[in-house]
Structures are given as structure tokens and as C-alpha cells.
């Protein structure tokens, strides 16, 4: 194509102006809904702000943060959320990757499976929690009775802290595996067939192909899935409140506290139930900092491993 001589009018400033005009509404809303409230929130976390129900706001600097970090219940919440996040991320990613492999193979009915696995994600978290609460409390013991498993009959999942944790992992996996599976599935689709063909020609078996071709090629999907599952695990609330309600209670450092009260529920309890709005805000800022550090670390590390074609 023959190149024309560049026109003499000021294209750059016109483009810049159009750029700002188009971006303005989104930036405006972002400022109003995200940036400004966030800034205000960080400011309030250094005070004893009580919202509309308290007329004075005093600057108390780090008091909220110190109290939060020395509070046994909050320490436990942090610990238990980390633990849950680690287990949950591993389980969800393994399960959904396996499902994605299953669904992208040439198995019969794979389209049906794809839709079926994705469906649980469409059910709202609260409803999901209540349904699974029924399953854990009523169905599992009956199942234990039917198949003669003494363990199932006497051990109520929601009655013991460790089992309640695994109940939460199972329910959350059931909810999200389909969604993450879709991400892996899209990644798998983009791996060129030619790679597998040449590997087969060179005598590679199934496991070798998985390890050395599939996994490196879907690293970008892995970055995304890992990011999503980590964030979701740290911020989980709806399933937490409907399935276990924060329970069962456990003894921790000589105090009786809620056994599965994750960070978000702790923030809600502090801010709304116990009317400590500024302290709840401080805890929310702590959660934000944790998530930023983890997400940045994770995306940087996994980005390095991505293979570009």
C-alpha cells in the first residue's frame, strides 16, 4: 500500500481530546465509587468513626490496627482464612484442571458435561450454603446409615471444626470448579495440535505430553485461575455465613470463639454487629494489603513461567 504524506493538522491533540472524552464517564464513576470511598475508608480506619450514629470522629492513629492484631479472634480468623485459602486453591485448581482435561478430550457427551459442571456456579452462594447445610446435617448421616458407615453416622461435618473446614472447601469447590474449568478449557483449546502431533511422533506418552506441553502452554490460564481462586478464597462470605455461620465454636488460646469465622465475616461482625465501624474498616484495609501483596507476588511469579508462542 502506498504511503501518503502525513496530513498537516494536529492529529495528536484531537486524539488526546477524544480519548479523554470517552474515558471521562468511566473515570468519573471509578473515582466516585471506588477511589474516593477507598481513600475515605483508609482515613476512617485511623479514627474512631461511628458513621451516622456517632457525631464525633477522633483521630486515634494506629489504635484500631493494634487492637485488631492483638485480638485473639482476629488472629484466628487470619490464620484460618490462610489455611482455607491454601487448601481451597489447591483443591479447586486440581479439580477444575482435571475437569477441563476431561471436557476437552474426545469423551462422549463432553458438551453436556461442560454445561453441567458450570451450572453450580449459577446458584447463589446463600442458597448453595443452605442446601449443603441440609446435605451435611441430614443426608450424610442417612447415607452413613444406609451404607453402614459408623463414621459418617456419628461425625457431623458441621459439628467439628476440621470437618467444617473440609465442608467449606467441598462446597466452595463444587460452586467454583465449573467456572475455573471454563478458563482452563479456553486455555487448552488454544494449544496447537501440531505440538501434540510432533510429540507423539517422537514417542511421548500421555503423562509426558501433559507435563511438558499442556501445562507450560496453559500457564496464562493458570495465572488467571490462581489469581481468581486466591481472591475468592480470601473474600469468601456468602457460603461461610449460610453453611456454617462461623461455627462450630472452638477453644482457642483459652477463649471460646467461632471456629470458621473467616476474615470477611469477622469484618462484618466487627463493623455491623458489634458497631465498631472504624475497627471493621481497619480490618478491611488489612485484608486489602494482604491480598495486594499475595496477588502481585503470585502474578509476577506465574507470569515468568508463561510460554509465548
Amino acid at each position: 500500500m502506498a504511503t501518503k504524506a502525513p496530513k498537516k493538522f494536529n492529529r495528536t491533540s484531537r486524539d488526546t481530546r477524544n480519548f479523554f472524552l470517552l474515558v471521562a464517564p468511566a473515570v468519573f464513576i471509578f473515582l466516585l465509587v471506588i477511589a474516593i470511598p477507598f481513600g475515605l475508608g483508609v482515613y476512617y480506619s485511623f479514627t474512631d468513626w461511628g458513621g451516622v450514629t456517632q457525631s464525633e470522629t477522633n483521630f486515634i492513629v494506629f489504635h484500631n490496627y493494634i487492637q485488631s492484631f492483638t485480638d485473639t479472634r482476629f488472629q484466628y480468623s487470619l490464620m484460618i482464612t490462610f489455611l482455607f485459602a491454601i487448601i481451597n486453591v489447591i483443591v479447586i485448581n486440581i479439580v477444575s484442571f482435571s475437569l477441563a482435561l476431561l471436557v476437552s478430550s474426545s469423551i462422549k457427551g463432553r458438551n453436556l458435561y461442560r454445561a453441567g459442571f458450570f451450572l453450580p456456579n449459577l446458584i447463589g452462594g446463600l442458597v448453595l450454603g443452605y442446601i449443603w447445610q441440609f446435605i451435611y446435617n441430614q443426608v450424610f448421616p442417612s447415607l452413613g446409615d444406609a451404607i453402614g458407615s459408623e463414621w459418617l453416622m456419628t461425625n457431623l461435618f458441621l459439628g467439628k471444626p476440621n470437618l467444617a473446614m473440609s465442608a467449606l472447601v467441598m462446597t466452595n469447590t463444587w460452586q467454583y470448579a465449573g467456572y475455573i474449568m471454563m478458563i482452563y478449557f479456553a486455555g487448552l483449546q488454544s494449544v496447537p495440535e501440531s505440538l501434540y502431533e510432533s510429540a507423539s511422533l517422537d514417542g511421548a506418552n500421555w503423562w509426558y505430553k501433559l507435563r511438558h506441553i499442556t501445562i507450560p502452554m496453559v500457564m496464562s490460564s493458570f495465572t488467571v485461575s490462581l489469581f481468581l481462586t486466591i481472591n475468592n478464597s480470601f473474600k469468601i462470605y456468602d457460603v461461610n455465613v449460610s453453611l456454617t455461620g462461623g461455627g462450630p465454636s472452638i477453644m482457642w488460646q483459652g477463649q471460646a470463639i467461632k471456629g470458621t469465622e473467616f476474615i470477611t465475616m469477622n469484618i462484618y461482625n466487627t463493623a455491623s454487629v458489634e458497631n465498631q465501624l472504624a475497627r471493621g474498616q481497619a480490618r478491611a484495609v488489612i485484608l486489602f494489603v494482604i491480598l495486594v501483596i499475595i496477588s502481585l507476588t503470585q502474578t509476577t511469579l506465574t507470569k515468568r513461567k508463561e510460554v509465548e508462542m
Binding site: 477524544n18 472524552l21 450514629t53 462450630p248
Partner: protein, 427 residues
């Protein structure tokens, strides 16, 4: 030039679209004297309240907008959001002293002839701020038919020893009576209000006159009466020993209701607010309440009765006269009384109400009130820090229920948590 105009138009249109999407606003305190919003927290009475308000509104030329926030919606949180947005409703609901303290700056006093017809209105600094929505109460609910079958007279259960003996008796006769366990109770997280709020209220007020805050003031100062707590722990232990472990540890309030309604338990640890639920479950036996027995040193004689919530009025409303008339008519007119007692199934807090409720537990309480039997304070727990009963005490009951701590540890933990009250209130 037209290209530029095109782009600008598109930008303006998309901005306008976004603005309209975000443009819905909630009702604010109205300036119109003939229109007001009432925000209630009871889903059970929503239908009745809405139809009564509509009928009254039509007869008086006032537009009454009834909204309800209940169940998973927390009225306290919703109000905080609405007020912060500058859109607080004209009339809303508060619960007890802590509710008043929270909203004190937003309220104005109300008046009417009804004030003299009740002892349950909410007074602060000699001014009336709260219109009692209803009267609620509890003791230990019992299934009269089952007790009769077992040969136990509920009116004879007047002391801790006698009650413990009756429980043991019922437990021994479980098979022939078709009982799963003697008492229906729950301590799981999410239902910690049952023990943490209502049962703990017994520690605060049982054996004391209605309005006597002696023990409450002790707790507010962080002190625990060791003897009283020891007796109270015996009562909790008694309750837990005679409740099905699965229901006690992972059961919900629905499980409790179902067990009681189907005759699987003889007692239910709930109050008269469960009438609609029990009616829905078709529980058609005679019911009543027996007093809690929290000590061997005195006999519990009273039930815990009081107004759990009050209607309060936004000080910025322009419809105060209409609102006062609304309250006045609810008490004075036949339609209002019919609404309160028959449609909404509430116990009327007003002595002038002629209707008596038909629901069994409510009827029992109404009779108790008319017969002027002993009433203990219902609202002592409202002096506790927010969420104290559910979040601080709840897990202790839970641990005790699971058998992870013994009675001595229970007492110790309760004492430790009570010692934190002054700090929690001061913050």
C-alpha cells in the same frame, strides 16, 4: 466537524444512560404532612401491617408506605446505610436501650392518649420516644398434652429440683411418649441468640422485679456474681443434658420448631414469637410457658415479658401529626386493635385492648399479663454491648454443648467475657 459532534453525542448519551441506571433512590423522610414511610423489621406481620396501613391511609387521606427489612436483611445495617445517604425513613423500629442510644440524635418525642394505656412505652429523660410494637415473652414452652400424658402438672414445676426431677421422669418415659428428647434447643453459630440473648437474659433478670437492673449494672461494670453464675450454670447444664446432641450442636431453630410441633420434644426453648411458625407446622396441642429455674436458692416465678421493639419517629419528618394519629388510631379504634391482635398475631401492649390473641403461646402470655402474675425484665440484654450475647457468649454455650468444656470452665469463661463488658461498652 460532524465526526467530532458524533463522538460527543455518543459520549453524552452513554453518560446519561449510566446516570439513569444509578438514579433510583430510596424513600427519604418526607416533607409532605400527608405521607410517610414506615420501616418495619418483622416479616411475619408485613402483610397485615401493609393492608391495615393502606386501609387507614385511605380513611384518613394519608399515604403510608410500609417497608420491611427482616431475616437476612438487618434493619440496623439498612438504616445506617439509608441515613448515611440522607434518606432515613419517617418511622422505623428500634430495639431497646442500645437501639435508642444508636439513633438518639435522629429521633423526636411522640405523644398521644395511648401513653397512659400501657406500661411498655419507651421513655428517655421523661419523654416518650417509642411506641411499643407488641409485647413478647418467653419462658420454657411446654406441650401440655404430652405433660398430661406423662402425669406431670406444669404448674407444679416451681423449683429447680422439681424441674430436674420432671426432666428425669420424662427422659425415662421417652419411648412410651414418643419423645426424641425432653427439650428442644440449639447452640450452633447462627442461632447463638437463643442462648446468648434470651437465656442469658435470665441470668440478668430472673428473680428480680421488672425493671430492676441490679445484676445488669454489675455486668456492665464487668462483675459476675459467683453464686448466681453457679446456679445459672446448673440450669444450662440441665437444659443441655436433656436435649438431643445433634439438635443442640448443629440443629437450627427450624429443627427445634419441627421437633416440638411434631411432639418429639416436650419443651421448646423459644418464646411466643414462634406462634406463626408453630401454626404453620400444624401444632394443635395446648401450650404454655413455665418459668426458668436458674437457682436452687430462689424459685423462678415469672416469665420474661416486654416490648422487644418500638416504633420511633425521625426528627426530620414533616408528617408528625399524621404519624401520631396513626399510632392513636391503632390503639383506640376497633380496626387498629383487630390488626394488632388478630391480623398480626401480636399481644397488645395496651390495657384498653379488648381483643385477646388466639395463637396459643400469645394467649397464654396475654392471660398471664391480665392475671397480673410475675413478670421479669425482658430487655436487660439490650444493655449489653452490641453482639455480645451472640459473638462473645454464644461460642461458650456452643463449647459447653459439645462437651469440650465442663461446668467449671463454663463459669470461668463466662466470667472472663463479662469482665470485658466495660471495655466493649466504652469503645
Amino acid at each position: 466537524m460532524s465526526n467530532w459532534l458524533n463522538k460527543l453525542t455518543k459520549v453524552a448519551l452513554s453518560a446519561g444512560l449510566l446516570a439513569t441506571i444509578g438514579g433510583t433512590t430510596a424513600q427519604a423522610a418526607s416533607d409532605d404532612p400527608n405521607s410517610f414511610t414506615l420501616y418495619s423489621n418483622k416479616s411475619e406481620t408485613q402483610e397485615a401491617l401493609t393492608s391495615y396501613a393502606a386501609a387507614w391511609g385511605e380513611a384518613n387521606g394519608v399515604n403510608v408506605n410500609v417497608k420491611v427489612c427482616s431475616g437476612s436483611c438487618s434493619l440496623g445495617d439498612q438504616l445506617k446505610a439509608d441515613f448515611t445517604a440522607g434518606e432515613g425513613p419517617d418511622v422505623f423500629v428500634i430495639e431497646g436501650q442500645s437501639g435508642y442510644d444508636l439513633w438518639a440524635d435522629m429521633l423526636q418525642p411522640i405523644s398521644g392518649d395511648w401513653v397512659d394505656q400501657t406500661e411498655f412505652e419507651f421513655i428517655q429523660n421523661d419523654e416518650v420516644f417509642g411506641f411499643p410494637v407488641s409485647v413478647e415473652g418467653y419462658g420454657l414452652a411446654y406441650n401440655a398434652d404430652l405433660l398430661a400424658e406423662a402425669g406431670i402438672d406444669p404448674e407444679s414445676l416451681t423449683s429447680f429440683e422439681l424441674l430436674a426431677a420432671a426432666f428425669a421422669d420424662l427422659d425415662a418415659k421417652k419411648e412410651e411418649l414418643g419423645l426424641v428428647s425432653v427439650v428442644a434447643n440449639a447452640t450452633m453459630e447462627g442461632e447463638t441468640w437463643i442462648m446468648g440473648n434470651h437465656d442469658f437474659n435470665a441470668y440478668l433478670g430472673s428473680g428480680l422485679a421488672n425493671g430492676d437492673r441490679t445484676v445488669t449494672e454489675q455486668v456492665v461494670a464487668g462483675e459476675t456474681d459467683a453464686d448466681r453464675m453457679a446456679g445459672y450454670a446448673d440450669w444450662v447444664e440441665l437444659l443441655f443434658n436433656y436435649t438431643d446432641p445433634q439438635m443442640l450442636t448443629v440443629g437450627t431453630q427450624d429443627d427445634m420448631d419441627i421437633a416440638f410441633a411434631t411432639g418429639q420434644t416436650a419443651f421448646l426453648h423459644q418464646g411466643n414469637w414462634k406462634d406463626p411458625n408453630l401454626a404453620e407446622l400444624e401444632a394443635d396441642f395446648t401450650m404454655g410457658f413455665i418459668p426458668y429455674q436458674i437457682s436452687s436458692e430462689f424459685d423462678g416465678e415469672g416469665l420474661f415479658i416486654g416490648a422487644p421493639s418500638y416504633y420511633v419517629v425521625n426528627k426530620d419528618t414533616g408528617a408528625l401529626d399524621s404519624i401520631n394519629k396513626f399510632f392513636e388510631d391503632m390503639v383506640a379504634t376497633a380496626e387498629g386493635q383487630d390488626y394488632m391482635v388478630n391480623q398480626a398475631n401480636m399481644i397488645s401492649p395496651f390495657s384498653t385492648t379488648e381483643e385477646t390473641p388466639t395463637a396459643p403461646l400469645s394467649a397464654f402470655l396475654a392471660e398471664w399479663i391480665t392475671a397480673e402474675k410475675t413478670i421479669y425484665s425482658f430487655d436487660n440484654t439490650y444493655f449489653m454491648p452490641d453482639g455480645f450475647g451472640m459473638n462473645n457468649l454464644g461460642p461458650i454455650y456452643g463449647q459447653f454443648a459439645q462437651g469440650n468444656i465442663d461446668k467449671a470452665q463454663f463459669i470461668e469463661l463466662m466470667t472472663t467475657e463479662i469482665a470485658k463488658v466495660p471495655e466493649l461498652l466504652g469503645n
